[in-house]
Structure formats: structure tokens, C-alpha cells
């Protein structure tokens, strides 16, 4: 068999990636420009980065964003796994499908709708807008994503595996913790990281439910960009971009380790 991989596909791929990444690189390059406009590169400087790092308000917002992301991802992973298990254990196929559809509707429905409805809900119930409201709404839109990542793993699992565990004397809890959860771990990780990224870059929902005095990065960048472009935003975006890259790489390695299925003993 001769390798007939012409240059064509490679060039095509290269063009696609250049188009996708060009704006980001453009933005990154100007984060080092000593001017204050996004044209006419005027010489190299790290001033914008200094500015970002000295901006305590911004750093607090970054911290907020991270705390919200991690907390909401963790909580929604727990809720999502429970939800997926519940859907899995529903015996009737019709009910199972309806539940799944309800789940998917939440994913496809527009952020604005979700945001607006949460705003309404929080105002009616009387939850103060701020950290709690943002956290709750992030959890709410992440749970369906986790469910969607975990459920296929559950369905992939042979039901006789559960029978086998019971047969060997495992209680329901043992079966869950020693057979089902290890089996769906890759799905749980995938769900967690998806939830994390969705939370980190969410703008629309957060915009609705965040009050005075509490903000996340995307909302903050938006409001700063409206006040006029400052290249420190470029610097901030560059930093975020690299942080995201690190996370993707980290996820890649975790996924790889899981794939090898390193024998996690049932030991106590």
C-alpha cells in the first residue's frame, strides 16, 4: 500500500487553523505593543501585563471566576452523576427518553433565556444577586452537560457487571463505589472539565444574574471593552488563553491515564 496523502488536505487544515487562531494571535501580539491602539505595533513592552497584575480589582475578579468555576463544576458533577444514575435506573424506555429530552432542552436553549429566567426566579424567591446567584445558575446550566457526558458511559456498561458485583456479595453501595463509579470515571472527568470551561467562559447567564459588586471575568472584560479599548484587556486575554491551554493539556494527560485503566484496586 502506497501512502497517497497529498499536500492538499494538509494545506486545507493549515488554512482552517490559521483562520481560527489568527484573531487570537493578533490579540496576543498587541498585548505586547507599547501603543494603546490595536494597530501600528509600536515596540515591545510588558507594561500591560504589569498593569493587569497590579489591578487588584481584576485579580479578585479572576479569583471569583475561578472559585465559581471550580465550585460549580464540582457540585454540578456530583448532581449530574446522580442525575445520570437516576435516568439509567429508570426502567421504562419512554420515561428515560423523556427525561433525556428534558435534559437536552436545557443544553440547547439559549443562554439569554436561561439567564433571564434565572433573574426572574431569583428576584421572586428573593435571592440576593451576587456570588450565590451566579453559582446557582452556573450549576444549573452545567448539570445537563455532565449528565450528557456520563450517561453514554453508563449505557456502555454491561448490566451483567452490576449483577456480577451483587453476585459476589457487594451491597448496593459497594456496587456503586467499586464497579459503577470506576467504570464511568472517564465520563465524570469529561463532564467536570466541560462544566469548568462552560462556567469559565459563560457571559450571558452571568450577565443577567450578577449584581453590583460581584463580577466574573467575561462580564468584567465586556464592561471594560465598552468603556474603550485598553490593551491590558489583550494582556489579560493572553493570560487566560495560556491558562486554558494548560488545562486542555492537563485534561489530555488525565484522559490518557484513564484510558490505560491503571488498576485502581478495590482495596480499602
Amino acid at each position: 500500500m502506497k501512502k497517497k496523502n497529498g499536500l492538499g488536505p494538509k494545506i486545507y487544515l493549515a488554512i482552517v487553523f490559521v483562520i481560527l487562531y489568527a484573531p487570537i494571535f493578533y490579540l496576543m501580539v498587541y498585548s505586547f505593543s507599547s501603543g494603546d491602539k490595536m494597530y501600528n505595533f509600536e515596540g515591545f513592552t510588558l507594561n500591560h501585563y504589569k498593569e493587569v497584575l497590579q489591578d487588584t480589582r481584576l485579580l479578585i475578579i479572576v479569583l471569583n471566576t475561578l472559585v465559581i468555576a471550580l465550585l460549580s463544576a464540582a457540585l454540578s458533577t456530583i448532581l449530574g452523576v446522580c442525575g445520570a444514575l437516576a435516568i439509567y435506573y429508570v426502567r421504562k424506555l419512554r420515561t428515560q427518553n423523556s427525561l433525556l429530552t428534558l435534559n437536552n432542552v436545557l443544553i440547547v436553549s439559549s443562554d439569554v433565556v436561561i439567564g433571564a429566567s434565572f433573574l426572574l426566579l431569583f428576584t421572586i424567591v428573593g435571592v440576593k444577586l451576587g456570588f450565590v446567584s451566579v453559582l446557582l445558575s452556573h450549576i444549573a446550566f452545567s448539570v445537563p452537560i455532565v449528565v450528557l457526558m456520563v450517561l453514554p458511559k453508563l449505557n456502555e456498561m454491561s448490566p451483567t457487571l452490576i449483577d456480577a458485583a451483587r453476585d459476589l456479595g457487594a451491597s448496593r453501595w459497594d456496587t456503586l463505589s467499586k464497579v459503577i463509579l470506576p467504570f464511568i470515571t472517564p465520563g465524570i472527568f469529561a463532564g467536570f472539565f466541560m462544566a469548568l470551561t462552560y462556567s469559565l467562559d459563560d457571559f450571558a447567564v452571568t450577565f443577567f444574574v450578577t449584581g453590583n459588586g460581584f463580577s466574573t471575568l467575561s462580564v468584567e472584560i465586556y464592561s471594560r471593552a465598552r468603556q474603550g479599548i485598553s490593551l491590558s484587556i489583550n494582556a489579560l486575554s493572553t493570560l487566560i488563553f495560556f491558562a486554558t491551554m494548560m488545562m486542555v493539556i492537563g485534561y489530555y494527560f488525565i484522559a490518557k491515564r484513564n484510558q490505560r485503566g491503571a488498576g485502581m484496586g478495590v482495596g480499602k
Partner: protein, 368 residues
């Protein structure tokens, strides 16, 4: 013998929703240290019986006894039985050692005890040195042996095996049949083995239950069932057979295909309509006028071990013959058989009635 009984089904019926019953008023008992086979066509309820014993489902009616205690509601993890599943159901996230150790760890055994028992179980199934392998690095036959090791390591009283050999190729399957039987003898544990392969059942079992549509048609040793099937279904399902209608002239004399033959069955009414069974390998080819029957050869198939010859007698009954001798298609041949080769079946007789009749007429014979 009663104290040897481990499991007893008493009029067990299993029904899903409004569907017709999957198991129909089934009763049987299982004794210590024997090899049982549940044999029957697909969908007859074999797996259902295993699931009832293992505790994955509950009977709709009737009782399941374990050492004479009702077991209906005892959950699977509290029963002294272990299952080897059809797809093995090994845990993919655990290696061979941890798979086998699973049950012991649940029980909370000490680490050195676990190690000793697991290695012993692996030695039993010839898998020493494979402890640290991942499941996906094992072949089909090896996986099956891991599944068996995982079951025996818990020292259950009964091991249930659901068609464990069906995924293997013929050669490995034959090999594993020997190994399983040998293993059962060495361990002295009761095996309940499910298969739809009658040769496998005959080769391995102490006792066979032939199932059909949720009923036990017949139970007995392989030779009992092969030589004395109680009805057409069993005769047909256990090996190939010639089944022809006949009339019982008197005890030990049956008429079929227009002739009278000596036989060894009795306890019938005079001139009762019956069916007679003759196994194809019990028919011997002779010259046309030397046999008890004449038939015209219609087709012949070479099967390796023997020729499979098919033909019709003057009355139009079809006969199947297994013979190492060759015949020619279109030729007229004679068929010879011993009186013992004939097995007479009463129409619509249940197993109980069959046993009673057998007892009655053998007593009568002894009284003579």
C-alpha cells in the same frame, strides 16, 4: 438423601407483566456435588432459572428453598451461590488478581488470606502468572477461566454457569468441557450449567433437565434421557432420531411400518397408539432381505465420522441412518436393529406417569 439437597424449586412460576409465564409451575431439586445441566432451545427459560437461583429476580408464584429455608426474598449478595456469566462480566477496570479477589475483599478478608486464596484459585484454572494482566489482554478462553476463578474463590455451595462456552471456537470448547468437568470433580461443588447444545449436555452432566417453553419436559442422567426420551420433543432435541407411529400389540411387542417387532417396553394398553423412537446409529445396514425393514436410499451425506443416509420404507416413513458403511442413492437396503434399540413412547405422557409405569412394569417383570 434428603439432606444432600441444597436448592429446591417448589411449583415456581415466573411471569413478566401480562406476558405468558416464562416458567410454568417448575419443581426440581439440586443436590450437593453434582453436575446439572439445563438444556433447551432459545427462550425456554434457562437463564430465568439461573437468575432465580442467583437472586436477580423473584418468582411470581411458588417457593425457592435453600437448605429447606425459603429464599425468595433474600437478595443476591446474601446467597451462597456464584455465577459465571455468559459474557463473563469481568470488571474491566481491575486486573486479573483484583477481579478474582473482588468477592473476598467485599467480605473483608485479610490481605495475605486474599493473596493465598486468589493464587490457589488461579492455579485451579491454570492461570498462574497472569495475576497482573489487564482483562483486555486476555483471550476468550482465559477470560472464561478468570470468571470461573472469580466464582470458585468464594467457595460457594453452587456455581451457576450460563452458556459459558458458547463464545468459544469448537476446539477450545471441547477442551474447556473436559476442564470444567474435571474442575467440578476436584472441587466437589455443585455446578448448574446452562446450554442449548445437546452434545455438550450429554458429555458433561450427571443430570440433565430438558426444558421447553417454561416446563421441565424430562430430567435424568444423560443415558436415561438419550435412551428413553418421554416424548417427541425430548427425542428430537436430544440427538437425531427416527420417530414413527406404531401400535402396541401387547407388552414387549410393537407394530409399526406394517410389521411386528419385539421390544423391551411394557405397561401399555392392548392396541394402544404409540410412537417409537430408534436412534440413527442403532440402525444397521444389511442386504435387503436380511433386515427387519426395507428402505430405499433417498440421499446420503458424508459427515466425517459416519455417513448420514436418508430414505423411505414401503409405508412412506422416513428413516435416518448413521453408518460407517456407504450406501448408494436409489438402492434398496435392509435395516437391522436389536429389540433394545426400540424405545416406545406413550402419547402425551408426563414424566411422573412415565416413571410410575416404568416402576409398575419392571415390578411385574420381577414378579414373573
Amino acid at each position: 438423601m434428603a439432606d444432600q439437597t441444597i436448592i429446591r424449586f417448589e411449583n415456581v412460576t415466573k411471569q413478566y407483566d401480562q406476558d405468558p409465564a416464562v416458567l410454568n409451575d417448575v419443581s426440581f431439586s439440586i443436590e450437593r456435588g453434582r453436575f446439572y445441566t439445563l438444556l433447551g432451545p432459545s427462550g425456554c427459560g434457562k437463564t430465568t432459572i439461573l437468575r432465580l437461583i442467583a437472586g436477580f429476580t423473584e418468582p411470581t408464584k411458588g417457593n425457592i428453598y435453600f437448605h429447606e429455608k425459603v429464599m425468595n426474598d433474600v437478595p443476591a449478595n446474601k446467597r451462597q451461590v456464584n455465577t459465571v456469566f455468559q459474557d463473563y462480566a469481568l470488571f474491566p477496570h481491575l486486573n486479573v488478581f483484583e477481579n478474582v479477589a473482588f468477592g473476598l475483599r467485599i467480605k473483608g478478608c485479610k490481605n495475605d488470606e486474599i493473596k493465598r486464596k486468589v493464587l490457589e484459585a488461579l492455579r485451579f484454572v491454570n492461570l498462574v502468572g497472569y495475576e497482573n494482566r489487564e482483562i483486555k489482554e486476555m483471550s476468550g478462553g482465559q477470560r472464561q477461566r478468570v470468571a470461573i476463578a472469580r466464582a470458585i474463590v468464594n467457595e460457594p455451595e453452587v456455581i451457576l454457569l450460563d452458556e459459558p462456552l458458547s463464545a468459544l471456537d469448537l476446539k477450545l470448547r471441547t477442551e474447556m468441557q473436559y476442564e470444567l468437568r474435571e474442575l467440578q470433580r476436584r472441587l466437589g461443588i455443585t455446578f448448574v450449567f446452562v446450554t442449548h447444545d445437546q452434545e455438550e449436555a450429554l458429555a458433561m452432566s450427571d443430570e440433565i433437565f430438558v426444558l421447553n417453553e417454561g416446563n421441565i419436559e424430562q430430567s435424568g442422567t444423560p443415558t436415561d434421557i438419550y435412551d428413553e426420551p418421554i416424548n417427541r420433543f425430548v427425542a428430537d432435541f436430544i440427538g437425531e432420531s427416527n420417530i414413527v407411529p406404531g401400535v402396541m400389540k401387547e407388552d414387549y411387542l410393537v407394530q409399526c411400518a406394517g410389521k411386528n417387532f419385539d421390544c423391551v417396553d411394557g405397561g401399555f394398553n392392548r392396541n394402544e397408539q404409540v410412537e417409537i423412537v430408534i436412534r440413527p446409529e442403532d440402525l444397521e445396514i444389511t442386504l435387503p432381505d436380511q433386515g427387519k425393514l426395507r428402505m430405499k436410499v433417498d440421499s446420503q451425506l458424508f459427515r466425517g465420522v459416519h455417513y448420514e443416509i436418508c430414505g423411505y420404507d414401503q409405508d412412506g416413513n422416513e428413516w435416518l441412518v448413521h453408518s460407517t458403511k456407504k450406501a448408494n442413492v436409489g438402492e434398496e437396503i435392509g435395516l437391522y436393529f436389536d429389540p433394545e434399540a426400540i424405545h416406545v413412547m406413550r402419547l402425551g405422557e408426563t414424566e411422573e406417569e412415565f416413571d410410575k409405569r416404568l416402576e409398575a412394569y419392571s415390578e411385574a417383570t420381577h414378579a414373573d
